[in-house]
């Protein structure tokens, strides 16, 4: 399991949500890459007992994820998925791009 994020073909920087132009190098050619896991930076629990956290995947990439189990603490490493998992293993759900907008590759130039 993994999540799909955007990678700049020119400089290799990763982004989520997707960009139109790479803010690091200014190019507009991207490809998709898979990210398996990340580290919880901070986490809060909502009134509905949903745990929402910031999960860091790289120096310039972090995602907002729904964390399970809900008692995860900062520093925990979680597997990242585009689907909700009910298992006991630390996991983060990151909703994917809507299908109508998904493309394998993007060429704007």
């Amino acid at each position: 399991m993994s999540i799909i994020v955007q990678s700049c073909r020119n400089c290799g920087e990763h982004y989520f949500p997707y960009r139109l132009v790479c803010p690091a190098c200014g190019k507009a050619s991207f490809t998709d890459v898979e990210i398996d896991s990340g580290t919880v930076e901070d986490v809060v629990r909502t009134a509905a007992d949903v745990a929402i956290g910031t999960v860091r995947c790289g120096p310039r990439l972090c995602v907002i994820a729904r964390l399970t189990p809900t008692d995860l603490r900062p520093g925990a490493v979680v597997a990242l998925n585009h689907t909700i998992t009910d298992g006991a293993d630390p996991a983060g759900f990151v909703p994917a791009r809507t299908p109508g907008l998904q493309r394998k590759e993007t060429y704007i130039q």
Binding site: G53, I64, R66, P95, L101
Partner: protein
């Protein structure tokens, strides 16, 4: 900035938690516009410039509203930046007046924000929200600002009681503002024991959505009546997407554009007599006051809140702010400008402070993790 533009009128369509049937976005904005013009001693026929911001105006646009209000214009703009809309429109309006594209400009913002409209807004705020946040599920930005507040607590050594002092002090200001929807005193105990929304944020850390609208009249010097309410716009600076959402959300764009505003205005934070900072959450009050230089980087933030804000030594959000007065959608940013202008006009009965220099900051538009737009306006009683 040459300071040739003056705010000469303010108006607020009364905020309501449950608007009467038949209330429309157009009707509350028109009400605020007419109130602001009456405050300025002007009529709809005097207006040649109009700017509006609203989440719920569609399918109409600024020009539809202008037509329905009987405006004939040489300058028109529509802004989409929510809590940062007032400062953004003011920045443009000042330039339009300097360039003589218009000489009597009305800036307005407002929304019908009932439960259904609010749910629709927060679920479809932008594409990132629609695709990546709403399905978590996350209904609105509370959880994002809970994360941001958590980080701020760690960084500045703040506790819930510190944020409580901001919320309860604003409620005390609100008790003297008949326009605030919540005016009953709020104790620290009530704040601390309120139901949690997303820890560490409780009920009183979150703004109550209301229906309403705010407006200001901005005119060229030659159109500003002597002896009437006058506040000169000394400076407006704005920042968009200052950190690419890569930062921790503890520093806003004001950190980079604030110093220029103070330079242009020729004053410094110590000169400010009244301040409105965009208070979608108490943590953002702290962040903006720090970015604007009111709270020094090495200063004890908890002490600053207790000794400057809670004592009202530094009058912050004297209307009660959005936390007590209510957040009327896009009018949230305009609300602070209206209050500072009223203070500078000497038209804030019950809560009037002796004010020569007023400061207003706007903040808003969460892209994915935190807000992306920020601006500051510095005004002087004239």
């Amino acid at each position: 900035m040459s300071g040739t533009a003056l705010v000469v009128g303010t108006g607020e369509s009364p905020y309501t938690r449950h608007a009467p049937p038949g209330t429309t976005t157009g009707s509350v904005i028109a009400d605020a516009v007419l109130r602001a013009l009456a405050d300025a001693g002007l009529s709809i026929r005097d207006v040649d410039g109009f700017g509006v911001s609203s989440f719920t105006l569609g399918p109409d646009h600024a020009v539809d509203l202008a037509w329905r209000m009987g405006l004939r214009l040489t300058w028109l703009m529509q802004d989409t930046n929510g809590g940062a809309s007032a400062g953004g429109m003011l920045q443009h309006a000042v330039r339009a007046i300097e360039a003589a594209d218009a000489s009597v400009v009305v800036l307005a913002a407002g929304d019908v924000m009932d439960k259904a409209a609010h749910e629709r807004l927060v679920a479809t705020y932008n594409r990132a929200t629609e695709e990546h946040l709403a399905p978590l599920p996350m209904s609105g930005p509370n959880a994002l600002f809970a994360l941001q507040t958590t980080r701020q607590m760690q960084t500045l050594g703040l506790e819930r009681v510190d944020y409580g002092r901001i919320a309860t002090t604003q409620r005390t200001w609100a008790s003297a503002n008949p326009g605030a929807v919540y005016r009953d005193p709020l104790t620290l105990d009530e704040y601390l024991n309120a139901p949690m929304v997303a820890g560490p944020l409780g009920r009183y850390d979150c703004v109550p959505p209301v229906t309403g609208a705010d407006a200001v009249v901005v005119v060229a010097e030659h159109c500003a009546a002597k002896g009437g309410p006058r506040a000169r716009v000394l400076a407006v600076t704005a920042s968009y997407n200052s950190d690419d959402q890569l930062g921790d959300g503890l520093v806003t764009g004001l950190a980079s554009v604030g110093p220029r505003a103070w330079d242009l205005a020729g004053v410094e934070p110590n000169d400010a007599d009244v301040v409105s900072v965009y208070d979608d959450y108490p943590s953002m009050v702290v962040a903006q006051l720090a970015d604007l230089g009111f709270l020094a980087p090495d200063e004890d933030a908890s002490k600053f809140i207790a000794e400057r804000i809670a004592t009202r030594d530094l009058p912050v959000n004297t209307s009660g702010g959005q936390l007590s007065a209510g957040q009327a959608g896009s009018a949230g940013g305009m609300h602070g400008l209206v209050e500072v202008a009223r203070q500078l006009h000497g038209r804030a009965p019950g809560r009037q402070v002796g004010a020569r220099i007023g400061v207003v900051s706007g903040y808003g538009m969460v892209l994915y993790r935190h807000g992306s737009c920020a601006n500051v306006a510095i005004l002087e009683a004239a």
